[in-house]
């Protein structure tokens, strides 16, 4: 029997819980050649701002141990060109989630307003990691009051599913999560990248032209799983988990910690087939472990008695 992989994110129904993460999949064009994008649970497009943005100077990426630093700087074609690219994606019959970015509240609002009536758009994911120009460049996402205000403004502008994407660069992520929930977000996604830096010991300069960048990839997975665990435990909203997912097993870690769906970013770069492979792997896991629906797994690790099979692998005496 084929396990049921469908999940719900607010009112959004996904046929499976796997989607590419924003900024790691462009507008889908590049990965069409590798597989039928119609297999995905959803497609999250590149962070979109009101007007086109050129992005940061190069070098923009640097490899780190099991990780990637990037400082793309929100290069994107602006809302109107993004609209065309999003419409093009409609052919796959998969919900398209628009990642929204801005340097001030007005810019976020303008993107959401412009695309709110667009039928090709299923949901908005609000990237609150952007530097907040009004507050001296600290990211919107580090202050619960700012997140509350921003999410509240956007909530008024759209009936569509509103997802707030949290930054991990904070002391207490639950505080921010609660602020987003109280402002009316339908779901939360996490984590965005951790702020990092790498230095080239030959040139003795930072490897990125922007000096610092965002860390993603397997290296950050334990931090991401911990934050999903914390947020899923304190807020009654569906969570989309991400950060270092490379295989079905990683996706399962997030779902067991409490994520209803997962996003896969950096892993697309090393393995363009990673998303469909994870979808297949989740089905294999459900079958082998006796689950008829993948949503039964959500948050299972939170319940001490939920051992269905297995054991501790002979390790650890409990």
């Amino acid at each position: 029997m084929q396990p049921d992989l469908s999940v719900k994110i607010g009112r959004l129904e996904l046929k499976n819980p796997v989607m590419p993460a924003s900024g790691c999949f462009g507008y889908g064009e590049e990965y069409e050649q590798f597989y039928d994008l119609g297999r995905l649970g959803a497609i999250v497009v590149k962070g979109t701002t009101a007007e086109a943005r050129p992005g940061n100077p190069a070098p923009r990426v640097a490899e780190t141990p099991a990780g990637l630093l990037n400082a793309i700087g929100l290069q994107n074609p602006g809302t109107e060109e993004a609209r065309l690219k999003i419409r093009r994606l409609a052919r796959y019959g998969v919900p398209v989630i628009v990642n929204v970015a801005g340097h001030n509240t007005a810019e976020y609002c303008s993107v959401v307003e412009a695309l709110s009536a667009e039928t090709a758009v299923a949901a908005f994911e609000i990237n609150v990691s952007c530097p907040n120009v009004a507050e001296g460049g600290l990211s919107f996402g580090t202050d619960p009051r700012t997140v509350f205000r921003l999410a509240g403004e956007l909530r008024k502008l759209t009936e569509k599913t509103l997802i707030v994407k949290l930054t991990p660069n904070v002391t207490d992520i639950t505080e921010i999560a609660r602020a987003a929930a109280e402002a009316g977000a339908d779901a939360l996604s996490l984590i965005n990248t951790l702020l990092g830096m790498a230095i080239d010991t030959r040139s003795r300069r930072p490897l990125l032209a922007n000096l610092t960048g965002g860390l993603s990839g397997p290296a950050v997975k334990p931090v991401a799983v911990r934050m999903v665990w914390q947020v899923a435990g304190c807020v009654d909203l569906p969570v989309i988990g991400m950060g270092g997912i490379c295989c079905a097993n990683d996706a399962l870690e997030f779902m067991l910690a409490g994520a209803s769906a997962v996003a896969v970013g950096t892993a697309n770069f090393s393995n363009p087939l990673v998303c469909p492979e994870i979808i297949d792997g989740l089905a294999v896991y459900c079958r082998e472990q006796g689950f008829s629906a993948v949503r039964e797994l959500v948050g299972l690790a939170r319940r001490p008695a939920a051992h269905k099979a297995g054991g501790t692998g002979g390790c650890g005496r409990k």
């Binding site: 900024g23 462009g26 290069q75 792997g281």
Partner: protein, 282 residues
């Protein structure tokens, strides 16, 4: 068409200290100037769940290795039906690992990627290589020669040992001129020292690949001589397919400075587009 394939190592030899020639068998058809993204992880590591059933490993444990995380971009050094050849210099962790691959091992290759060299109708061509920059120009030379063009190949390096594959180049029928910084072979000085004279006696476009200062000097000479100049660039890449926007280079198009992706719109660019542009202009 870009594909993800496991190719098998046919041979793998060190042609100079720290420089390897890797012949892979398998069906990948690439144009001169295109490149591939190679996974440097040892192939004993299962890449995904998919490959595990029946191998006796438990499903939830045989996970992908993830360091080094990214594929490495390498130019197509030569390509014939059923064979793909790469020439690379060991530069860091990734290429050290790749150098460990033995005949019979498999290598996971994504490609072909990027734009090849534009092949103008001209009867002649000048190719200018600096060190490992010979990698993509070797295949270009062979292709041009087979199409009946006349190829003047200017090849510079620090010392004689850096003139990788010069014998094979000479055998291919190209007219090869060497230059070394230490005078151990050919002209004593930079390869650009050969270019001025070459521009006088060969009317073809100039195709160059090598270190950044060499490319700039070549571009400058060509600009002065009003000769078409095509360069192949390097940039740090994450995806190699155009999705991450990590590999951009500022170029001037229609008077405007814009970022272009080295992996998709490049790695081959017109020199005048690249070198008329301040790196941080857009």
């Amino acid at each position: 068409m870009t594909q993800l394939q496991r190719l098998s190592v046919r041979s793998h030899e060190q042609v100079a200290p720290g420089v390897f020639l890797l012949c892979l068998s398998g069906g990948l058809t690439a144009l001169p100037g295109q490149f591939v993204m190679v996974s440097v992880l040892p192939d004993s590591v299962p890449l995904s769940l998919r490959e595990r059933p029946g191998e006796g490993f438990e499903p939830a444990t045989a996970l992908p290795a993830c360091d080094p995380l990214l594929r490495r971009p390498l130019s197509v050094h030569d390509c014939r039906p059923g064979e793909l050849v790469l020439l690379y210099r060991v530069a860091g962790r990734g290429t050290v690992l790749l150098a460990g691959r033995k005949p019979g091992d498999s290598v996971d290759v994504l490609g072909p990627l990027g734009q090849g060299f534009p092949l103008s109708a001209s009867r002649q061509a000048i190719l200018v290589a600096g060190g490992i920059g010979v990698a993509p120009l070797f295949y270009l030379a062979r292709t041009l020669l087979e199409a009946g063009r006349e190829v003047l190949f200017l090849f510079g390096a620090g010392e004689q040992a850096g003139l990788y594959r010069r014998r094979e180049l000479a055998l291919s029928g190209a007219e090869v001129r060497l230059a070394t910084d230490d005078g151990s072979a050919g002209f004593h000085g930079p390869v650009t020292g050969l270019l001025r004279e070459a521009l006088g006696r060969n009317q073809g476009a100039v195709f160059a690949c090598g270190p950044e200062p060499m490319l700039q000097a070549v571009a400058e000479l060509c600009r002065a001589a009003e000769r078409e100049c095509i360069v192949s660039l390097e940039a740090r890449m994450a995806c190699g397919v155009g999705a991450c926007l990590g590999c951009v280079v500022p170029v001037r198009r229609h008077g405007l400075a814009v970022y272009r992706r080295t992996c998709t719109e490049g790695p081959v660019f017109r020199a005048e587009e690249v070198y008329s542009c301040n790196p941080t202009c857009p």
